[in-house]
Symmetry: C2
Subunit: 87 residues, 2 copies
Amino acid sequence: MYVIMVYDIKEERVNKVLKIARKYLTWVQNSVLEGELTRAQLEKLKVELGEIIDREEDSVIFYKLRSTAYFQKETMGVEKGGGEQFI
Amino acid sequence: MYVIMVYDIKEERVNKVLKIARKYLTWVQNSVLEGELTRAQLEKLKVELGEIIDREEDSVIFYKLRSTAYFQKETMGVEKGGGEQFI
């Protein structure tokens, strides 16, 4: 499935969360990653994130789509994404 | 159509961008809004944003879906959203 992940994480944990998310997904913008994942990969990602985030303070949203055919993406301004980009 | 909007905007412009976006969409998390828009409403939103953002520095991504039937949403941690919430 295709996953868009957006997160809102307290500063002290945000680098750890980003590091985990980047193992599975491509960074596209501040706090946003996306990519193709199997169900098992998504479960692993959620387990890893669950060990880091504070569920009282942090928030992670996954938008799960069957494929990229189900949405169109449009960017205004800078195209920041690119898996290899250092942020 | 259903629109998920994520933005990465320099601090001096971020409040203006959020104020515009909230006229059209519901805030769900830091830098993320979503909602049902007509094509005309999306165009108006883009025109308004275009007057504020710096296209060399800022980035706004719209994920456009035919309806909410085309994705599933899953949240870990805090559910921050809610149109009336003050942030």
